[in-house]
Amino acid sequence: MQQELEACRRERDECLEGWKRSKADLENYKREEEKRVSALVKFSGESLIRDLLPVLDSFDAAGRSGEEVPEGLRAIRGQITGILNRHGVEEIKVSPGDPFDPSEQEAVGETESEVPEGDVAQIMATGYRFHEKILRAAQVKISKGQTNE
């Protein structure tokens, strides 16, 4: 009888332990899930926004084409960037003469320039940030200084 009682007690303890563990797992999971969901919601637009970037590139290309860009086209670009801003997307601000910063810029080439060597000479494509994440680094050409005549 004593043995049976012991066995029973052990089994009960195991069951209790298992139950507590399951409960704890569930509670921990819920907590992690909450974090995951809020991260998901925050970045949920990411893939759509990434897919839209080439559209903005096309607008920028239009601007560079040398052809007179209708005011309307500029306004449309503004419309799109306005919407993106409201959703947490920002253009990365770079100008010629800025120091090169690989945390938000990508060097795609070098070019002669009055700008000091090693600094940004030309912006080739706009970069975008989504909340704290770099969606696409700004594509820039680095100055190699000026060669003397």
Partner: protein
């Protein structure tokens, strides 16, 4: 630790999960650089300045680690590497970065150090142990060097794990007995095939093969060249020198490749790609999956031949087996998402390959699992994920539902819900002064209760007479660990309750379950239409009822012509309701809704005439459609 990119994973809540680095990315470029100011950059930052600092940017170190400088592969790679390498004192490779020379393991350690720091930040705790993966063909020297890289980075390297073995682990194939597995790894820069043998809780590598210079990048380049040629044909313009155009085309080529994994056709559309003396030029081209497949056919064929060779060549070059000896195939590497590759592999072996896990991450996932196994052993416990196996929980194989107004089967417990579990919902009555409700319990996946199996029925009466939709009847479905279902219904007002106990709801024949699920899938669209019709009818009746009530309540405040109009519309709705045209019912309802708004308007207008002029309010819909409860037993309001 990949040639181009590295990834890391850890067990979180019993599941292996990829850890993002501090830039928020799931992979980190295996690149290190020293910029002109003497600053060291690692990962994405190093990659971003590679173009302007080719001599100071170190990449593809995996091709050099643990090798002798004199080896043929090293000499070959030396020709294309942008940085300097030389022979070290011990015959190995020394890499020049800035003024100093480094061993490959020191460079790899820098990448690992960053991953360690990022992982510790993500997980919020210190990490000391790591499992690092290497190709199956790595020799002792390469493995040792990789281990050292880990140790330099501050890890206690618990295991150097073969990449194909990690992939097999990720799919749980290590639990199989006496099986032969092919791992087909088509990454960005290299193609590797490994033949594994699994048994007795061990995984053995029988043979390896592949091409270290064949990868997804070759596909991208082929597509890019095709686009450039097509454009030349179309417009007579050569874009190959236009850096910016190339960049856009490259990105478009990659996107197109991804899209064609799920679509048959895609369009490459790049406005303002360039301009000439005539003005701006644009690029549009349709690319079909068939065309893509023909462009990359040679690469896929080459990979298939290499697989065949690895399987059938006699040992030690190959595994000395027949293709039919292979039991399982695992796909690794982003490129394997391409349907043509999956088809080619399936055709070769006559079986479907395993591909459920993200192919870019499957090796890391496997490494995390191995890490957990080792950690568990060290700590004297069972690995997470296995403990769960001791207490096996059942699931309910088919959906359990309640019949609601119109014969609709309203799901209460969805199929594949883990049991024990309980679900409660509040329902109501369909008609005024309805004093009893019938609880009809069904099992199955069809939308109409008549197509499902009846498990039980009972009646709850004694509900105090009230207008329809007012009573609150709480219905609970409770399944215990043995699969016994208890359904109870309780009227909240009177406190009266009734219940029924149903045995063996989970002991269904597997084939039967599959058959029923298949039937449901086949009838899915017609079931859906039936359901929509019923719901429309329910809504129509509800609307008609509310309209009548509103008219009654408003009394003679409603002008005669408005009243007549509304009564006509109500009649119309009731007539259409009995027919089978869901759309017609919706139309009739909308017309009635519009008319009903005039009741409210009339009432406000009257008020206005009575009192001094006040602000004119927006006409409220005096007859709000829904009853307080979210779900009525009889009204299926879809809010």
């Amino acid at each position: 630790m990949g040639t181009t990119n590295s990834a890391m994973a850890a067990m979180k809540a019993g599941e292996p999960s990829i850890l993002e680095n501090d830039e928020g990315n799931r992979t980190t470029p295996s690149v290190v650089a020293l910029n002109k100011s003497g600053e060291r950059l690692v990962g994405q930052l190093a990659k971003r300045q590679a173009v302007v600092n080719p001599a100071g940017t170190i990449y593809a170190v995996k091709r050099l680690i643990g090798r002798k400088f004199s080896e043929a592969e090293v000499q070959e790679d030396k020709k294309s590497l942008s940085y300097e390498i030389k022979e070290s004192d011990h015959g190995g490779v020394d890499i020049q970065m800035g003024e100093k020379w480094y061993k490959p393991e020191e460079i790899s350690a820098m990448v690992l150090q960053k991953l360690k720091a990022d992982a510790e930040a993500r997980l919020g705790e210190k990490i000391d142990g790591a499992v690092i993966t290497v190709p199956a063909y790595f020799d002792d020297s390469q493995r040792q060097a990789t281990k050292q890289a880990g140790e330099i980075a501050g890890f206690s390297v618990k295991r150097i794990l073969n990449e194909p073995t990690a992939a097999a682990l990720a799919y749980g194939l290590n639990k199989k007995t006496d099986e032969k597995i092919v791992v087909y790894d088509f990454g960005g820069g290299t193609f590797d095939v490994s033949i594994l043998e699994v048994g007795d809780n061990t995984v053995e590598v029988r043979a390896t093969g592949g091409d270290p210079h064949l990868g997804g990048e070759d596909f991208d380049n082929k597509i890019l060249n095709y686009l450039l040629e097509e454009y030349k044909k179309q417009e007579g313009v050569d874009l190959s020198k236009d850096k910016l155009a190339i960049q856009r085309l490259k990105e478009a080529a990659e996107r197109a490749k991804h899209e064609l994994s799920s679509a048959q056709e895609t369009e490459v559309n790049l406005p303002y790609i360039t301009s000439d003396e005539n003005g701006p030029k644009h690029f549009t081209l349709k690319l079909t999956r068939a065309k893509l497949e023909s462009l990359v056919e040679e690469f896929i064929d080459r990979s298939v031949k290499l697989v065949e060779k690895a399987v059938t060549d006699s040992a030690p070059q190959g595994a000395g087996l027949q293709l039919s000896d292979i039991d399982e195939i695992v796909l690794v590497g982003g490129q394997t998402r391409m349907p043509a590759i999956q088809e080619a592999v399936k055709k070769l072996f006559g079986k479907d390959p395993h591909k459920g896990i993200n192919p870019d991450e499957v090796v890391s996932v496997g490494a995390a699992i191995q890490g957990e196994i080792i950690a568990a052993k060290e700590e004297g416990r069972k690995p997470e994920g296995e403990v769960k196996d001791i207490l096996l929980l059942d699931v309910t194989p088919l959906t359990l539902s309640l019949e609601t107004l119109g014969g609709v089967a309203t799901p209460m417990i969805e199929k594949n819900t883990t049991i024990p579990t309980s679900k409660t919902q509040v329902f109501s009555t369909a008609a005024d002064n309805q004093t009893s409700v019938e609880i009809h319990i069904g099992q199955g996946e069809r939308s109409m209760m008549s197509d499902n199996k009846t498990l039980g029925k009972f009646i709850l009466d004694g509900i105090p007479p009230s207008p329809r939709g007012v009573p609150q009847v709480e219905v609970t479905f409770d399944i215990d660990a043995n699969g016994i279902l208890n359904v109870s219904a309780k009227d909240k007002a009177s406190g009266k309750s009734q219940s029924v106990r149903i045995e063996a709801t989970t002991s269904l024949n597997k084939e039967e379950v599959e058959k029923l699920k298949k039937e449901a899938a086949e009838h899915a669209s017609e079931d859906q239409k039936k359901k929509e019709l019923i719901e429309a009818r329910n809504q129509a009746e509800s609307l008609a009822y509310t309209a009548e009530k509103s008219l009654k309540d408003a009394g003679d405040k409603v002008p005669a012509d408005v009243r007549t109009n509304i009564e006509e519309k109500i009649k119309n709705v009731r007539e259409v309701r009995d027919k089978d045209d869901t759309a017609a019912i919706q139309t009739a309802m909308n017309e009635l809704s519009q008319e009903i708004q005039k009741i409210g308007q009339s009432m406000y207008n009257e008020k206005k005439e009575e009192s001094a002029p006040e602000e004119k309010k927006e006409g409220e819909d005096a007859s709000s459609e829904t009853t307080p409860e979210d779900d009525s037993k009889s009204e299926h309001n879809d809010n």
